[in-house]
Point group: C2
């Protein structure tokens, strides 16, 4: 016999007052309550194990204290870590977090937003993947995009300075003596990875504008035979090739094996994401190609796992926690200061630095 949870009315009855007084006590309400009464109410509440019903409160006060967090995929460590920090920041501000994985699909992202709105969330944090398209900003509640989002819209977008990160990475590889620096981008441009690619082109000497023909090495998620083509970026030094693969480890692993088989592996490479860098490491290891001796590698995410690969990845570390904090501050109109701290280069082994 599980008994019905007790309500404000139960407490009021037990304390011999009205529900209003109980409410005032519970919330340090808008009106004062005599000390003696307050004691009685508190005692009765404790006695009955009273727990305020947030649903009823939300209905009345039009604020649920719940924020919706839309992600591409929490099992991707980059998004997973971001999600964790966002949840932490919200918890600290006494908000609850409703999560949903959109699985890189714009429709599912829209669908999730709809469901969250129906649940009357107070706000939305959207960690949009670049594949999710620039869905129109959701109406009705405040929203913040993290990592990537529609520029110029009403909703702020919180993202680190990707250009600076890339410049640092290129400069670091040059310090190790590499004149050519290849870049492993995503399957298509757009989103933060697109920005990173542009920054790389600029750093490496190519004209970032619409230059002449440029052929690329491509690997899809499928392990089937995919033609590998590459060529120097127009204006760049030979060897500074643009590579592409899906964002999965599998795809980057497959691409790496293929490049090795063809003798086309660059000497220095910047991977747009940790997932891809880990795939490259995996492929190189399997083929017996030593990193960093034969391939110097830098990755641009800097998720926690990048520190424990073999060899440890040199990364430009995205300030994920700072980004999450700022996003939450902006959402709750606490104003999150200016730009989040820039990504910082963390030299480890994979670029050629000593262990």
């Amino acid at each position: 016999m599980t008994k019905r949870p007790s309500t404000l009315a139960d407490v009021a009855r037990a304390a011999g007052t009205s529900t209003a007084v109980v409410s005032y006590v519970i919330n340090n309400g808008p009106r004062p309550v005599a000390a003696a009464t307050r004691e009685r109410v508190l005692a009765a509440a404790a006695e009955l194990g009273y727990r305020p019903n947030r649903i009823a409160r939300a209905l009345r006060s039009r604020s649920t204290g719940v924020v919706g967090l839309v992600l591409a995929d929490a099992s991707n460590p980059y998004f997973g870590a971001l999600a964790r920090y966002v949840e932490q920041a919200l918890e600290r501000r006494d908000r609850l977090t409703l999560v949903g994985n959109a699985g890189y699909s714009p429709e599912r992202q829209g669908h999730l937003v709809e469901r969250f709105l129906a649940a009357q969330v107070d706000g939305l944090v959207i960690v949009s993947s670049d594949t999710a398209g620039d869905s129109a900003a959701p109406t009705g509640v405040p929203a913040v995009y993290v990592h990537h989002g529609p520029a110029g819209g009403p909703a702020p977008v919180v993202a680190a300075d990707n250009r600076a990160a890339v410049r640092q990475a290129v400069a670091h590889l040059r310090e190790h003596g590499h004149r050519s620096v290849a870049f492993l981008a995503g399957p298509h441009d757009g989103g933060p990875v697109g920005v990173r690619r542009e920054a790389w082109e600029a750093a490496v000497g190519g004209d970032p504008g619409p230059v002449g023909v440029r052929r690329e090495a491509v690997a899809g998620g499928e392990p089937g035979p995919v033609g590998v083509r590459r060529e120097a970026v127009a204006g760049g030094e030979p060897g500074s090739v643009l590579l592409r693969s899906d964002y999965s480890r599998a795809a980057a692993d497959a691409l790496t094996r293929r490049l090795i088989a063809e003798g086309a592996l660059p000497r220095a490479l910047i991977a747009a994401t940790d997932e891809q860098a880990i795939g490259v490491l995996s492929g190189a290891w399997a083929c017996g190609v030593p990193v960093p001796d034969r391939l110097a590698l830098i990755s641009l995410d800097g998720t926690p796992e990048s520190a424990y690969t073999a060899p440890a990845l040199t990364v430009t570390e995205q300030p994920l926690q700072a980004m999450a904090e700022q996003a939450v501050d902006l959402l709750l109109s606490l104003d999150g200061g200016a730009e989040p701290p820039a990504a910082a280069l963390v030299p480890r082994r994979s670029c050629g630095c000593a262990a």
Copy 2:
């Protein structure tokens, strides 16, 4: 001028009916509605962009359609992947997921449960870490534990057959010719890792009961000097030592380096978790110790990332998705069948199998 979202009453007014009829239409309600009226209502609802307020619905019907998911830490890939699958399973059953990270702390776990109960969740999925203690099953709503939980309580516990997994791992290393198989456990016994450790002791020949003195190698999270002690398990063959470290990559990495420095590295090792295995790999790589040639390694989680380490980890793969599905089915009283499928051995490179 953002206009107030429209309500049932608005739709009723527009359609020239009462709110009851609108409700019946929206829910294919408990009573039928004339076809013509239904059309008018639907048209009005579409016109006004009506979206039912789930909060109000929840208040009246005492069911929110929201399930609380309590985790230790979503940024740990094992828990992260589990969380993703749980969310997916709930989404499929048309439920929303409220998440919270307890950060391995029993108090915070209890605190989260309290907050979720206040939010009137319909149920709780608790992915408890073994450090979280056996908190009393929360009252009032159905709950399911995943990975680890209080045995014998009213709440079911969904976990894979860890013993079988360990037996497979030991057997596989024996097939590779290793007579001794060491085990890297967590900082203390209890939880699934405790079960795994016991199963290893049994498989390796030691008495699983309270045997005589057994000294162990220990490494904390701190990189400071920690004494390393080890000895054969009573009754086991020499070399089948029990090692311990925190569940972090850092701790396992540090332990590995220390063992190597002392010349005390085993030839074959089973790591209780992927995180630890990755730390071992990292430490071994840094010291130039080749895996699997000098150290054969099997890990017991089988998270997605285990496939792309260098070398790829041989694992016994926990059926995370099946566990999540079953937990959700149990929670929603759909009955999730019997035990989840056992963990399956996935041979990769780190144990000594060919690539």
